[in-house]
């Protein structure tokens, strides 16, 4: 019984660890006047293929207002999940909002597109989802590094630990308060010190230092909680 439970627990945790993926948004794909659907998808295909060429199994998803058949006719099986763009479910709170999101101009199309992208966040399909812009390009992993998957796994491991508190959203942050400035600045020193002690430089180490410093830990006292 205990063995089964442990097995189940292991299975659950393994499955949870695997639930990482990258999502892109390409909405208004039929909306622009001057471009065909193929042109509109071009950037996002370059972005997604740059990940796929060195990681055959990392789940990729696309939020779009196109249907699955149309996307697959250009992208093949590149995206594991093709999901409807969030703007489709948007309910304006007032007449003014309704007016704001309507209109055929390019600026209004941009507004609808951004709004859809913001709303898509709430429907992230993976336990840890990295939302990337479509003007991104994944570099080939350097020797010994694990690429984007490794970085995401490191972030997800952090979310599962009890040692540090969890963040709902992670992004490149701008420092406003002194505490934030210190955390961003001292993270370099922390990562360097830990790397000198044998930890591997990388996204996991960097995130570890940001979290530790933001959460009041001493930059170096947390080295034992970090595993490479």
């Amino acid at each position: 019984m205990k063995g089964q439970l442990l097995g189940l627990l292991l299975l659950c945790s393994t499955a949870a660890q695997e639930e990482i993926g990258i999502c892109y948004t390409r909405n208004n794909a039929r909306d622009a006047n001057r471009h065909t659907v193929k042109d509109n998808l071009r950037k996002v295909l370059v972005a997604a293929q740059s990940v796929r060429r060195h990681d055959a199994s990392l789940p990729l998803c696309l939020f779009t207002d196109l249907d699955r058949d149309t996307v697959e006719s250009y992208a093949g099986p590149l995206f594991r999940h093709i999901l409807p763009d969030g703007f489709a479910t948007f309910m304006p709170r007032s007449e003014a909002e309704k007016e704001l999101v309507s209109g055929a101009s390019l600026s209004r199309a941009k507004l609808r597109s951004r709004l859809g992208r913001i709303l898509n966040l709430a429907r992230a399909p993976y336990a840890l989802t990295l939302f990337l812009d479509d003007d991104t390009f994944a570099c080939l992993p350097t020797d010994g590094a694990t690429g984007v998957r490794g970085a995401l796994r490191a972030l997800q491991r952090r979310a599962g630990t009890k040692t540090y508190r969890h963040y709902d959203v992670r992004a490149h942050t701008f420092a406003k308060h002194r505490r934030e400035k210190i955390a961003l600045r001292d993270a370099h020193e922390c990562a360097w010190a830990l790397a000198r002690d044998g930890s591997r430089l990388g996204a996991g180490l960097e995130a570890h230092c940001y979290d530790a410093l933001m959460q009041g830990a001493d930059s170096a006292s947390v080295s034992f909680h970090f595993s490479t």
Binding site: C139, L155, T173, E180, R196
Partner: protein
């Protein structure tokens, strides 16, 4: 109750606890309930790593409302290319959010972090969203202010994608050029670096620049020589001590409560110190470190 039934009850309790524990672990993995101290100054929205849950949904909703409110109230010049940008509304939202929930700014994070409105924003490793590849040195040197603590993983630059769209080789060359800086950094982590290129690589053994730049006040003090390793070890020891003290305090409080003795008030959390106080504290810490270096070293050996 006989021993057999007691044992079986205990066994069932253990299984029950194991199931509860497994459920708790899985649910924690899916939706961790402890939120960390949040950033308040806005983010670059080109790469966002998110974990689903009610707090993320609320974040998305709040951002959407802030975005619409921003352009409803001050539409600005709609023909401008910056019109419709979502960064400024998000920065305003994050600022207002931190003001509305001051505990988010505490290192311990929000008290009741299961509340959906208390979403938190943390820092993403720089390598997952590199926007300044073109401004980085093209040789194998390092940009000290914004270093890449690991190889560049995601290049994010409109300019490159406009110019090189479809030419992966060119984009790969941007990646490899930038990653030379990282390779240099990585190779030098353990080696002695001549002149210590960046400040954060550790200060020189005796900081001569400060003494030459500033007029000396009071009697000359003996220079403190501490290596990075000593600093690290002493901090570890201090943290271990603190943790130990906290555990002891907690146990003592519990014991007193059981005995029905007088309640011992928990000590208030230390207040944030000013910069000069912090510096003084750091200096003091280093002095103490030197004194306790031997014992710390023993502890480190034991821990290793």
């Amino acid at each position: 109750m006989n021993f057999a039934s007691m044992a079986s009850t205990r066994c069932l309790d253990a299984i029950d606890a194991a199931v509860r524990e497994s459920t708790r672990l899985v649910s924690e993995r899916r939706r961790p309930c402890h939120a960390g101290a949040s950033f308040c100054g806005g983010v670059q929205g080109g790469a966002l790593a998110v974990t689903p849950g009610p707090r993320l949904s609320k974040f998305s909703e709040d951002w959407a409302h802030a975005y619409l409110d921003f352009y409803s109230s001050s539409k600005g010049d709609e023909t401008s290319s910056s019109w419709g940008g979502d960064q400024a509304p998000l920065a305003a939202l994050m600022d207002a959010h931190c003001n509305a929930h001051p505990e988010l700014a505490l290192p311990s994070g929000p008290v009741n972090s299961s509340a959906p409105e208390k979403w938190t924003v943390g820092a993403l490793p720089y390598a997952l969203n590199v926007r300044d590849a073109s401004e980085r040195p093209s040789d194998a040197t390092l940009k000290c202010t914004v270093p890449l603590m690991g190889p560049m993983l995601v290049l994010h630059q409109k300019r490159y994608l406009k110019e090189y769209l479809g030419t992966r080789d060119r984009l790969d060359s941007v990646c490899s050029t930038t990653n030379k800086g990282y390779a240099w950094l990585s190779a030098n982590v353990t080696a002695e670096i001549e002149g210590k290129r960046c400040k954060w690589m550790g200060r020189p053994e005796v900081n001569s620049t400060i003494s030459t730049m500033r007029p000396r006040r009071g009697p000359r003090r003996q220079a403190v020589r501490t290596s990075d390793r000593e600093v690290v070890l002493a901090r570890i020891a201090a943290a271990e001590d603190l943790r130990e003290r906290q555990v002891q305090d907690r146990l003592e409080r519990r014991r007193r409560r059981k005995r029905g003795g007088p309640l011992v008030k928990r000590e208030p959390a230390p207040r944030a110190a000013s910069l000069s106080m912090r510096n003084r504290q750091k200096r003091k810490e280093r002095l103490n470190m030197r004194r306790g270096a031997e014992s710390v070293a023993y502890e480190a050996v034991a821990l290793a």
